[in-house]
Structures are given as C-alpha cells and as structure tokens.
Symmetry: C2
Subunit: 342 residues, 2 copies
DNA sequence: ATTATCGGGACACAAAACGTCCCGAACAAG
DNA sequence: CTTGTTCGGGACGTTTTGTGTCCCGATAAT
C-alpha cells in the first residue's frame, strides 16, 4: 500500500500534496465541526482564501455541508475520510511506528496519531477521531458496546459522528463505579454516544462510599444482576488506560492502598484493575462492573491512550493481551518503543 | 485496490484525471519513442502546449529524457510506468474484464488492453508493451527465455526497453522451424530481445523443405541435441496464438493437411501444435523445437494474442492450461466472454 | 441590544496554463 | 551536397485559475 503512494508521488508530487492538504482540511473540519473558515486558519497553516477554495470544492463533491453555524462533514464525507485516513496512514512514518508497536505489543491493529496529546489538546481529539472512525466501522456486527470514563474515551464520544443508524445497539458503562468522577462520566459518555449512534443505552448510578457489606448485598440485587449479565455480553469495549499513581490520586484512594500500589510497583490501570510492569494484576477496585475475564470474551477491545507519561502504563496493560485495537499518539509510541527496545 | 481509486476520485477527481492523463502521455511516449510533441498530439487528443507542460514536468521528475530525436522514457520512468500500469488497470473496466477472463480460462493473470489490435496497430503495440513490462519483471528470476514468432511477439520485442542488465540470460527461439517465415522471424526477435536485455542468445537456422528422413537424422546431430536440451530448460516462454486455418495458409501447408485440420475442426495454433475447440491436439507440425510437455515445465508461459477473430483460438489453446499470463485486447476478450457465456 | 462568528459576494492582483509562432539543430531522402 | 521534415526549446500575448482582502447580512450566544 505504501508503494502506490510512492508511485503517485513519483509521477505527480503536487497532486499528492493536494490530496494531503484536502485530507487535512477534512480532518480538522471533523475535529472542530461545526467550524468556520477563519477558525480553521488558526489550526491549519493556510490562508482563509485557500481554505475557501478547498471548501467550495469539497462542498461540490458533497463531502461537507455548511450552514450558518459552520461547516460539517456529510455522511459521505465521513465515510470518505474514514477510508482516506487508512490509506494515508500507511504512507506516513507513523504507519511504520504503528507496525512496530503491533509487533512489540502483540496487538492486531495499532493506530498512531501525530503529536503529543499532553501538549496539544487537538492531538487527543485526533485520537478520539481515529478511534471513533474505527468504532463505527465495527458497529454493524455488534449488539452491545460498553465504555469506561476518562478524557480519552470522552474524546471518542465527542468525535463520534451522528449517524443514528444503529437502533439495535445497546450502550453500557463498563463499570457502574462507586459514584466517583470517572465512573459518573462514563454514564455521560454512554448516553452521548448512544444518542449519536441512534441506539439504546442503560446507565448505572450508584451512591458514593458504600460499605463493603452493602456493596456485597448490592451485587445480589436483581436489577444489578441483570446489568452484570448484559455487560458480560459486550461485543465491543472502549476503554482508556491510566497511569497507576495518577489514577489512584484522582480517585482519592486510601493511603493504605496507595502504599500497596507503590509497594507492588503498579504502573498501569484499566477497568479499575491495577497492573505492574509485568502485566500482573496487583490490585482491583471494589466495584460493580465488567471483570477482566469478560473483557477477554469481547470480540473487539479498543484502547485509547496517549502521552509520553502513559507509555509504561500502556505497555503494562497490553501484556494482558486484551486489546485488538490500540489508538495512541506519537509521544507515547516513541517512548514505548524506546523503552521496550532495551 | 479498486477501492482506493474510488476514494481518491471522491476526494479529488481532478487528481485522478491528471494522473490518468500523465499516464497516457508516458504510455504513448513508450509506445512511440523516440517521439516528438507534434507527433504525440496526433495520438493523444491533447494540444501541443499541454503536452509540452506535461513533458516539462515529467522531465523534471526524471521520468523522461529528450534529445534531438525526441522524447524517451528513462529507466526510472519505465519502472514507474510499469507500476502505474498495474495500479490503473485495476481501476478501469478492463480490470474486471481481465478478472472475468482469469476465472473463465483458469489463467493466473490476464491483462486486457483497450481497443482492437486488428483495427488499430497501436493496440498491438500496447499489448506488446504490457507483455514487455511483465516480462522484464520476471527476468531476474530466470535464466533461459524462449520465443516464438508472430506479429504479437514481435511487438513485445519492439517495446522491450533497452535495460542491458541481464548478462546471464539466454534467449532462444522456441522452435528452430523449417525455414518458414514465422520461424526465421523468431530468430530475429530473439536477437533483438537479447540485445536489449544485454543477454546472450543462440539461433537455429535450418534449411527449407527437409525430407522426413533428413529431419529425423537432423534430430540426432549433437548441435541440435544441445539446442533441444537448452530449450527444454526454458524458464520463460513467450508465444503468440494463431487462428488455425490462417496459420495453415500462411505456412502454405499441403492440401492434405489442410483437409485434416478442417476435418478435425482445428481452431487454434501455438508452438506448431493445432488444437480443436476442446483443446485437444489434432495435428503437430514436424519441427525441431520445444514440446508441449516441456512448455508445461516452464515457470512462466506468457501468451500474447489479440483481435476478435482470435477469440476461439485463444480459448482453445487456454484449455491446455499452459499459460500463467495472457496479454490480449478488448476485442478478443469481449468476444471470448460472449462465446463462453453461452 | 451587543458582540462574535458564520458563509458568501465582490474585486483587484498574481501565478499558472494555454495557444501560437518561430528558430536552429539533427537527420533522412534525394 | 541540398532539401524537407521533425525534433526540443524560446518567446509572448491571452485566458484561466488561484489568492489576498474587505465587506455584508444572518444567526446565535451573551
């Protein structure tokens, strides 16, 4: 696939550059939609006028539409962008980065986005966009989709196109956590994504700070049990990956647990499980939700995480061999390869 | 592969049109090289000026060179054209025509060229060009190449680029025929092709009209035997396919044999063998040369034949399952599919 | 009501592409 | 040798396309 770009570049370099430019325009329109010309100029390094001519062409091709609020992708534009993404990815250096990661982490498909999501918020958006594009392509073969919280998954939900074509899809929070920020956020993301997909969803709100006793009895509630049954049948799971200590702090965990995590050298977190560098589970949060073995049963597990500081966490979680797809950024990818190369 | 062209066409139709145009220019430069601007305008439907701008771009890209005699492809240009050909073929209707033929005739690779080689001499050239492009890509894994005569194979030799990179390649006439036009022509083609490839060659000139007795004793000559041993080791065989009765007439065969061919309903000819519609051998010319079983041993057998009138002949010869590659034209392909569909 | 932002219209200007004609060099035919 | 043809390339005015810049009414948020 890389070959064809080389040939096209050899026979007509200007036009390949044109396609790249047009792809960038489409990309940013999707990232920022609805967006206006002047707003785009600040992100792309193009003048207003050139963006305008691009816009007019794209409009004529039926890839974007524009109203008073700005420009947006049409359904066709979304579909084309999706494919163009895949083709252009192979032609860039990020393609080989991704291929190397696929081998190193033993993950089927790795998508690497340019930049550092910790520096540039647009990079996190781009990760979300790529994950969203991948996600919707999996929708038609699935019936249950479950999500975790986190800013990365949030960007996936944000960048999801409003297709409203999947009335039979059921969206669930992967864990009905114990009233903590991340878990309540998951509920928000579930409803947002379900609405965009046109599917159904079910939430699980639980009160804060339950005692161990009521936590145990809660598990036996018929309503909760039904939810747990549903979640076990997830076809697709979208989740973030956290740096262990950061996550523990955010969750305001007890000092005793913090000490345990430090002692066990926990580096990564996902689904409330904490992993050390070898990928072993060293701690599991007490929560209502999907179990690690159930994650393994899903046909597609999509992880979204970026930033150099998360490299170790990603490597640790990847050792569990849960994911089919990983969307990350250049910063994390390079750090990760730099470390595992030793 | 067809998919990527659809995407590119959706996102930038001008680009695809431009690439097609540039490809056409390269193609015709190769067909007619060395050729001038004004000469090209008569074949392409472009004005002199546009050809000139194309020419300047291509020159800057190092794909063509020009001197006082006209423009020619550079080595790089040849290489790029070769790949561009393959990519663009898939995007056209001819691609699906070819795919259908591959299935129908059970041939690995079928290349269909637009037009009718019986109407437009350039179409025969284009067949030769395509065959030559394919051929040189096989050279590096081969050591012995043998050819038959015929206008189709002649066009292959004509359109062969002068690479002169294969000093170890040995070219042979597939049959050292009995002094007939087609067979002496094969000698010419062998030397021409060997010279362009920079390889060695060996010819086999035999006198006219030998008696059966001397023909048999000739076979035992050490020189002939050596030649027959060499030819049996052919890795690549390039041959044409003839309409049985036409061939018989051209060869001025005896009436008795003509009657035999008519009686047995011979329709196709290759290597001096005559085949009926079922693909059975109904007659074999008495000649010194490659045997059908030896053809089967070659790693690549490349047939070149076009024109609607040859459809039946191609179908008949294909039944022998000798060829890995068939280069033909649109006219033959459509007639052929029309007939076998019944 | 005010402010900001949207797409789109307008227009001058720069750059690229095109049509057209000419020129000397190289080569083939006579 | 001369003559005629064809080659690439230079030259130049015209057309087309793309770009920079400013303005406008509509619309939504404040």
């Amino acid at each position: 696939m890389k070959q064809i770009w080389h040939v096209l570049d050899s026979v007509h370099p200007e036009l390949v550059a044109e396609v790249r430019k047009r792809h960038d325009v489409l990309r940013y329109i999707h990232l920022l939609q609805p967006v206006g010309r002047r707003n785009l100029t600040t992100h792309l390094q193009l003048t207003e006028r050139t963006i305008r001519t691009e816009m007019e062409s794209l409009q004529e091709l039926g890839l974007i539409s524009s109203n008073n609020r700005g420009m947006s992708l049409t359904r066709k534009g979304f579909h084309i962008l999706q494919q163009l993404d895949a083709y252009l990815r192979d032609s860039s250096d990020l393609g080989s980065l991704a291929a190397e990661l696929e081998e190193r982490l033993a993950i089927e498909e790795v998508i690497v986005v340019a930049g550092d999501s910790e520096q540039d918020p647009l990079v996190k958006k781009e990760m979300g966009r790529q994950a969203a594009l991948k996600l919707v392509s999996l929708f038609e073969h699935a019936s249950v989709v479950s999500l975790t919280g986190g800013t990365s998954v949030a960007s996936v939900a944000e960048l999801m196109p409003s297709l409203q074509e999947f009335p039979d899809l059921l969206f669930l929070p992967a864990r009905g956590g114990l009233g903590q920020k991340m878990e309540t956020q998951a509920n928000t993301l579930v409803s947002m994504m379900a609405e965009k997909a046109g599917g159904r969803y079910r939430l699980l709100h639980l009160p804060d700070h339950l005692s161990e006793a009521s936590y145990q009895s809660l598990k036996k509630e018929p309503q909760i049990k039904e939810y747990l049954n549903l979640i076990a049948e997830s076809d697709i799971i979208v989740h973030g990956i956290g740096d262990a200590l950061n996550m523990a702090e955010k969750r305001q965990m007890d000092d005793s647990i913090l000490q345990l995590l430090q002692q066990e050298k926990a580096v990564g977190e996902a689904f409330g499980y904490y992993f050390n560098q070898q990928g072993d589970v060293v701690y599991k949060m007490p929560n209502i939700g999907i179990q690690l073995d159930q994650v393994r049963n899903a046909s597609y597990v999509l992880a979204v995480a970026g930033g150099a500081s998360k490299a170790k966490a990603i490597a640790a979680v990847a050792k569990q061999q849960l994911q089919q797809v990983l969307v990350t950024d250049q910063a994390a990818a390079e750090r990760l390869l730099g470390e595992t190369r030793r």
